[in-house]
């Protein structure tokens, strides 16, 4: 039985549907990211899970028990969850230890146990030496660690994180991202993590649910989200991609200037004549000065370099195949340098091409 299930979950404000028929379930110990642009409904979904918002329709179930349904919302304090907030929400009138011990005290645990567990968790997040400080005396990263400790120490059934790293600077964000994953590996708490930052999602999640306009577009493991996006939105939102329109007929996908055989793609394509949309990642293509040996099923096109941008870790080229009117983004290693206007050969890997809808 899944730990947490969202079924047909919707939230509407007037006629505006902020969350639209979301289905999602998490197994125990699973870490799922809700990823999407701002306004996609991910935070609303999270706050419905927490019990702060009542759904308009659908239900939220934990361990087989309904927590939320329209008109019947179990208040947050009775859900045995915990949450980490964008603003950290560290109470400025309490010390670090008091902040962390708050949830334990509410559970009416003996004070010796509260103290022991508080101390223990503060060691885990490397804050043991600051237990008696007040929040105003801590840095942003330290506050974030306190927030983590406070949320984890109560051993929640589900841990919710609402854009927890968005207020940190870039270096710290990367560090905390691994910290969060480390803590998850250590405690295996079922976790829902809301973010708009795909690298955060990639680094932390077991599965990513990409949301757009209130709907979940796709739920998959991070690498599958990247390599096999199912929708145009997912393909475009996660990383960079080239979206190519084509037409499927007789097992052949006709594109502008060249064609592919459907059977060569990494995924099965039902064979029926129709327009089709392909997502080709810049990494799914390679450039070379001389014409590469033609391999089975790998189209090679002659092209001209139209633009280039050096990104440090790689080159980003825009090339224009000589046949047809396409423009394609291609990634190349730093040492592979082409001048603008140079003629190059472009090779596609059909295995890495995804059909999106």
């Amino acid at each position: 039985m899944p730990r947490l299930t969202l079924k047909g979950l919707s939230k509407a404000y007037g006629t505006l549907r902020v969350v639209d028929n979301v289905d999602l379930s998490l197994q125990e110990g699973e870490f799922v990211c809700l990823l999407g642009p701002s306004g996609c409904g991910k935070t609303t979904t999270l706050r419905m899970i927490a019990g702060f918002i009542e759904p308009t329709s659908g239900s939220i179930t934990m361990d087989g028990e309904v927590l939320s349904a329209p008109g019947a919302v179990l208040p947050p304090e009775r859900r045995r969850m915990s949450m980490i907030f964008q603003s950290y929400a560290i109470w400025p009138n309490m010390t670090v230890a008091e902040n962390v011990g708050f949830g334990l005290k509410l559970q009416k645990l003996p004070s010796a146990e509260v103290r022991a567990r508080t101390r223990q968790i503060l060691e885990v997040v490397q804050m043991g030496h600051l237990a008696d400080r007040y929040p105003a005396e801590l840095s942003g990263g330290q506050q974030q660690r306190v927030a983590l400790a406070r949320a984890i120490v109560v051993k929640p059934s589900v841990l919710l994180l609402d854009e927890p790293l968005s207020n940190l600077d870039a270096n710290l964000r990367e560090e905390m991202r691994f910290e969060i994953r480390r803590l998850h590996d250590e405690f295996r708490i079922t976790t829902v993590y809301v973010t708009h930052d795909q690298s955060e999602a990639m680094a932390t999640a077991d599965r990513i649910a990409v949301m757009n306009a209130g709907r979940i577009e796709q739920v998959d493991a991070p690498h599958l989200i990247y390599t096999q996006p199912r929708t145009r939105f997912v393909a475009a939102f996660i990383g960079r991609t080239n979206l190519l329109e084509g037409r499927l007929a007789d097992g052949e996908i006709g594109l502008d200037g060249f064609s592919l055989r459907a059977a060569q793609l990494g995924q099965k394509v039902p064979d029926a004549a129709r327009p089709i949309l392909l997502s080709v990642r810049p990494q799914a293509m390679s450039l070379s000065r001389s014409q590469p040996q033609t391999r089975e099923g790998r189209p090679v096109l002659a092209a001209i370099v139209a633009q280039r941008t050096y990104l440090g870790e790689s080159w980003d080229y825009v090339v224009r195949p000589q046949e047809g009117g396409l423009q394609l983004r291609v990634t190349a290693p730093p040492l592979q340098v082409h001048e603008v206007g140079e003629k190059v050969w472009l090779e596609l890997d059909p295995q890495q091409i995804a059909v999106v809808s």
């Binding site: 329209p70 008109g71 947050p76 304090e77 045995r80 907030f85 949830g103």
Partner: protein, 582 residues
């Protein structure tokens, strides 16, 4: 925590989609009950008295049958209409004089390098906390046309018999009122000036405008909305003021709305006519607030120009002492002179004999403290009525502010509206509403402490609400959500998290309500019973007992108590707690 009794089983999802009333109740947060109580409290405190006032104005005395006769009576005499006109003119003149006092002071304190700013600030504060009727008594001693010290000094200096100022005149009345209302405009204008960056002035300077031109053409126009807001507030305060017009207005032969309302409360009590007569006061107030809203709806001015840019005081050069002199002059008029004569009278055996060793006595204070039957009880009444009202007002206000800020109920804005509504209801009208609604059986609160406490609570609810709303807004909702998700109920969260975070501002708000309640006369004078007289009412009664020495001594006691409270407030809630604009 673990007994999740209310969690539905999965098979119940069908039912969960349309939960019955019982099931809804199981999910109800216990705190929801409190919100229902609050709505009840607000209706009781605000909506019903005002509604009743309206209803009563159309009722025939005794039978309660519908009639327009009350309005015919209330507006049937030229003298009554004249009182209405007097009130409007008095309000306008007082507001104008207040601007003359307040704006230069605010400008000097906020924008210039004038010396003695702290002293000016203290003077404004002093004028603010001195009850207006006490100032009125002081000014009777100062500016009685024949005997006032100011006029005697004038005659001595110039040999002219005609008085310099006659307190018993329309101008005198307006002057005395404005000397205690100008701090309101000062607060408004100063906080607006504080937001203007020097760059606004530099921009004008660089184009060739001098300091004076810049101030006139750039700085002051920028704070015009604040000045206007202050004018409206002072106008409304003046129109609703009872004490000063009663003390000065009668000898000056000036009848105003509030003293006329008092006449309707003479035997035989004609509360129906009083209600009808109070209506224009209500309409004027609502009209003024509407006008202000309309004018300020154009926004702009200060709010957009704030932030950014350094603020440098304007160098006044040799003018700084002239500006200082003006501030000192206002302070002298508003605080020092009335205070000095009141103190002199309070320590005098016969105040007409002036300062002399053999005229000094502590007897007036001794008489009040040890031999006067009502003085101590009235002090006690004042303290506990004010404390109770301040507590009730702050509790209601903070709960309403909380509900509104957290959007806990769908019609929260109605609650906020009710909590702010008394702001537009003159205190005297409020008191008559309370009298009409709750004095008679079945509620029969007349003469009880409760009716005064309730009236004070309602009257000062807006102050408490504005204060609480600002405090609650400053607490991020996630602070609370963090506690709730960890297992704290709504009420526990408020108690353990929110309350400690806002308590300091609430103490400040509590003290402000306490202080204004402790000197409130207009509402109290209609509601006191024999055993519930407050200091302000006793002071008013003493003012006609033919013994100004005792009156002054009692005023001294009232001021002493207020000063102690203000000192506590400054200690607990910061120096500016009373003069902050919220």
């Amino acid at each position: 925590m673990t007994e999740s009794a209310a969690i539905l089983s999965k098979s119940d999802t069908e039912a969960a989609r349309r939960p019955g009333l019982l099931r809804r109740l199981r999910y109800l947060e216990p705190s929801n009950l409190l919100w229902v109580l609050l709505i009840g409290a607000l209706l009781f405190l605000v909506a019903i008295p005002i509604g009743k006032l309206l209803v009563v104005s159309f009722e025939k005395q005794g039978s309660g049958a519908f009639t327009l006769a009350n309005y015919a009576t209330a507006y049937g005499r030229a003298r009554y209409l004249e009182a209405l006109g007097n009130s409007l003119m008095l309000g306008a003149l007082s507001a104008l004089l207040s601007v003359v006092f307040a704006v230069p002071l605010a400008w000097a304190v906020s924008r210039t390098d004038m010396p003695g700013k702290g002293l000016t600030w203290a003077m404004v504060m002093g004028a603010f906390i001195m009850p207006p009727y006490l100032g009125a008594v002081g000014w009777i001693l100062l500016a009685g046309p024949n005997s006032g010290f100011v006029n005697q000094a004038w005659t001595w200096l110039t040999g002219l018999q005609a008085p310099l100022v006659n307190v018993y005149s329309f101008f005198g009345l307006a002057l005395v009122i404005s000397l205690h209302s100008f701090p309101l405009i000062f607060i408004f204008v100063k906080s607006a000036l504080d937001l203007i960056s020097s760059e606004m002035e530099d921009a004008a300077n660089i184009l060739g405008a001098g300091t004076w031109t810049t101030t006139r053409k750039v700085t002051l126009p920028l704070v015009w909305p604040a000045v206007l807001g202050g004018i409206i507030v002072v106008f409304l305060e003046t129109v609703a003021l009872f004490g000063t017009p009663a003390i000065i207005g009668i000898p000056a032969r000036i009848n105003v709305v509030t003293t006329q309302l008092w006449q309707f409360f003479e035997y035989p009590v004609r509360v129906e006519v009083a209600a009808a007569y109070a209506m224009p006061l209500l309409l004027i107030t609502i009209g003024m607030i509407a006008v202000q809203k309309l004018l300020l709806a154009r926004k702009g001015f200060v709010s957009q120009t704030g932030k950014g840019g350094e603020r440098r005081p304007i160098r006044l050069g040799r003018w700084r002492w002239a500006v200082w002199g003006y501030c000192g002059f206002v302070g002298l008029l508003a605080v020092l002179m009335p205070l000095a004569v009141l103190l002199q009278a309070s320590f005098a055996k016969a105040w007409g004999r002036g300062l002399a060793w053999d005229n000094l006595t502590l007897g007036n204070y001794g008489y009040l403290l040890f031999r006067h039957e009502m003085a101590l009880p009235s002090i006690w009444n004042t303290l506990w009525f004010s404390a109770a009202s301040a507590t009730a007002a702050v509790v209601i206000a903070v709960l309403v502010a909380y509900i509104v800020a957290r959007r806990l109920v769908p019609f929260g804005s109605v609650l906020a509206f009710l909590a702010m509504a008394p702001f537009v209801i003159p205190g005297i009208v409020m008191a008559i509403g309370f009298y009409a609604a709750y004095a008679a059986p079945p509620i029969a609160l007349y003469g009880t402490a409760l009716i005064i406490i309730l009236a004070f609570t309602a009257r000062f609810l807006p102050i408490a609400f504005a204060n609480s709303a600002a405090a609650v807004r400053a607490v991020h909702p996630e602070m609370e959500e963090a506690a709730r998700i960890l297992g704290g109920g709504r009420l526990l969260t408020v108690r353990r998290i929110t309350a400690p975070l806002i308590i300091r501002s609430l103490i400040g708000g509590w003290l402000i309500v306490f202080i204004v309640a402790s000197r409130e006369l207009s509402a109290a004078v209609f509601l006191v019973g024999p055993r519930t007289r407050t200091m302000s009412v006793l002071l008013y009664d003493l003012s006609e007992a033919g013994n100004f020495e005792v009156l002054a001594a009692f005023g001294g006691l009232l001021l002493l108590i207020t000063l102690v409270l203000v000192a506590i407030g400054m200690k607990l809630a910061g120096r500016d707690f009373m003069l902050r604009r919220s």
